[in-house]
């Protein structure tokens, strides 16, 4: 009897397949499966009870879930737009610097070097209503006598979180846009000057179109980042008070680990991932459009 030979290609990719299966595929399938069960971390036997789409229906009908969803989209929209504008401004300024630009660029990346957890703690302290730096400064300057509840008031808490996000991540935009600025060919810029453009018109009609691909890359990266925002919020407000700053992943984290309802948490997670995928596709579409406009596609 002839023994069947295993094809070479299969032998070659087999180790990779095993690793992928172990670290990606199995957990993915397991979590997907568990989202169709009433799986509670404290009662492992619940894993074997099939309840169909019950968890999904529950999430879709849950006001708390949609509030967190909406808040995440809001945070994403505001933070990304502000970071983009600020990053653009920063990059433009830094690109003008003739002396010490390297040092400045390095300095600009400092916030990215801190763990988001530490950033969270730092801003939790800065915005603390009793001992925080901000209130202290405001009071010392005589601008107010009250202890402004930065992390308690609904809008102020959101503002504080956005502020912390921007502090830690504006440099992502600044660095990428700076790379874009360095990559711009000089000729069209000079042609625009000769064609009668003011500096603003040159920026608007020549520089900006060249920067768009870089901006979209930064937006794509940061949209995924913010869509899974967890650490900074968890530390600063813990989604509270009274869920006023609850985001998708703080809600999911709480549901899964505090309430131990892992099946339900996983169902919410899968719905949220749809959002992340949507933003990724959206920005990559934009990126490709901007690139093909510059004749870079293909």
């Amino acid at each position: 009897m002839r023994r069947k030979k295993i094809p070479t290609w299969f032998v070659l990719i087999f180790p990779a397949l095993v690793i992928l299966a172990a670290v990606v595929l199995v957990p993915l399938l397991f979590s997907l499966y568990s989202s169709f069960t009433p799986y509670k971390l404290t009662r492992p036997d619940t894993l074997f009870k099939w309840i169909g789409t019950f968890n999904y229906q529950k999430a879709i009908n849950s006001a708390v879930f949609w509030a967190a969803f909406g808040r995440t989209v809001l945070l994403l929209t505001i933070a990304l737009n502000l970071e983009m504008l600020l990053g653009l401004g920063l990059a433009l300024l830094v690109s003008r610097v003739t002396r010490g630009q390297r040092a400045l660029r390095t300095l600009m990346m400092f916030p990215m070097m801190f763990s988001p957890i530490l950033v969270g703690f730092q801003f939790k302290f800065i915005f603390n209503d009793n001992v925080g730096l901000v209130n202290n400064a405001l009071q010392s300057l005589g601008l107010t006598n009250e202890a402004i509840p930065w992390l308690v008031d609904k809008n102020l808490a959101m503002f504080s979180i956005i502020f912390a996000e921007m502090w830690s991540s504006t440099s992502v935009f600044a660095i990428l846009i700076l790379a874009g600025l360095f990559a711009i060919p000089q000729d069209p810029l000079e042609a625009a000057k000769v064609d009668g453009c003011t500096p603003w018109q040159t920026f608007r009609h020549i520089t900006l179109p060249f920067l768009m691909p870089f901006i979209y890359i930064a937006l794509a990266i940061r949209s995924l980042d913010v869509a899974r925002a967890y650490d900074i919020v968890q530390i600063m407000t813990n989604g509270g008070p009274a869920r006023r700053t609850e985001l998708l992943w703080t809600l999911i984290g709480r549901t899964g680990y505090v309430d131990a309802k892992m099946g339900y948490a996983n169902a919410m997670g899968y719905i949220s991932i749809v959002m992340a995928i949507f933003f990724t596709i959206f920005f990559f579409r934009k990126l490709n459009a901007a690139r093909s406009e510059l004749g870079m596609a293909g």
Partner: protein
């Protein structure tokens, strides 16, 4: 509608001075060509006129107005860049109309100007393409079109034809000449191709190492070069040069015992014992029976042919004389065998004498 004046214009990059106080007067509607070898400062000069490069000294005026401190947009100039510098994200139509749009012109007026330019340059079929989808020659024409829609006071061209193949270059050369006849405007044109310079220019300005060596009409610089640099730079093939000495009886002595009489024109201008350089063009050294009439024929010169280059209407002959390799021309050509010895006559009336030390013309 403008003349251009450069007064002692200097350009320094840090401590390095690359343009050393040049003076240039371009009359209204004049077509001036700047030529010179690579790195001599042609582009720098043009860019200073455009306002893309600050000047380190001197004064530039356009139409009587000093523009030293005006940004490019206030100088009413158009520039065609060496590598086109089209806007890659705009269609040909948008590229052409951009400057008018920026100037806040009405859409109808923009359309009219763009259509006019596209007709002149035969661009109608590509109007909605982006530059990336055009050939080099087409991009070239778009760059030209972008310059003409504005009806500027002054056109600046920086080697606009250098990226084209020989045929297209010849064609575009004619187009530019026609363009200048059609839209009378001052043009300053940079090239290192002396054929372009000769064919296009009202006046040629020859630059070397940041200095102007000579300026004049094409025939002036061709027939009366002020030094050996201009003599060898203008004209193709380059002028032959032979090192020699003036000896008694108005004779010139060269290596290997070769002698020639001093051309009539220079008798009295040179004295015995002086070291000179003799210059003459291939066109004025012709084999017997294949020559035009000579105004002042030299005694016969026998020379062996090293290589011959048949060009159809004439044949270029590479020969050896007085220890150097020189070129001659055979008109009404016949086949020539390498190594064949022919008898030549030199037209002394078309010869140039230069001082061996200063390399300046002794005329």
């Amino acid at each position: 509608m403008a003349s251009v004046q450069l007064n002692n214009v200097v350009k320094k990059y840090g401590a390095l001075e690359v343009v050393h106080g040049i003076n240039l007067d371009v009359a209204h509607n004049e077509f001036v060509v700047l030529v010179g070898p690579s790195g001599c400062g042609k582009s720098t000069t043009l860019r200073m006129i455009a306002g893309l490069e600050e000047i380190s000294g001197g004064e530039i005026s356009i139409g009587e107005q000093v523009v030293n401190d005006l940004p490019p947009r206030d100088r009413n100039i158009s520039m065609v860049f060496q590598n086109y510098a089209l806007y890659p994200h705009m269609t040909v139509r948008e590229n052409l109309g951009f400057s008018l749009k920026i100037a806040g012109k009405e859409q109808a007026e923009i359309d009219r100007a763009v259509n006019e330019a596209s007709t002149i340059l035969a661009l109608e079929d590509y109007m909605d393409r982006r530059p990336g989808a055009l050939s080099g020659g087409q991009r070239q024409r778009v760059a030209m079109g972008r310059a003409i829609v504005r009806h500027p006071d002054v056109f600046l061209f920086d080697e606009p034809l250098s990226n084209l193949d020989a045929k297209l270059r010849a064609q575009m050369r004619v187009e530019i000449k026609k363009l200048h006849q059609k839209i009378k405007t001052t043009i300053i044109y940079v090239t290192h191709d002396q054929v372009e310079a000769m064919t296009l220019a009202d006046r040629i300005v020859i630059m070397r190492d940041g200095f102007i060596e000579q300026q004049g009409t094409p025939s002036e610089v061709f027939e009366h070069p002020v030094n050996t640099f201009v003599a060898t730079f203008i004209g193709s093939p380059p002028m032959n040069l032979l090192q020699g000495k003036v000896i008694a009886d108005n004779q010139l002595a060269f290596a290997e015992g070769f002698t020639l009489p001093v051309p009539q024109e220079f008798v009295g201008a040179v004295k015995a014992g002086q070291d000179i350089v003799l210059g003459f063009r291939a066109d004025n050294l012709m084999p017997e029976n294949h020559a035009l009439d000579l105004d002042e024929a030299s005694p016969p010169i026998k020379m062996p042919i090293v290589v011959s280059e048949p060009l159809g209407t004439e044949t270029l002959l590479y020969t050896r004389l007085a220890g150097g390799e020189i070129q001659a021309k055979m008109l009404k050509p016949r086949p020539v065998v390498d190594g064949e010895v022919l008898t030549f006559h030199l037209d002394l009336a078309r010869c140039h004498l230069f001082d061996a030390d200063t390399q300046k013309s002794l005329r």
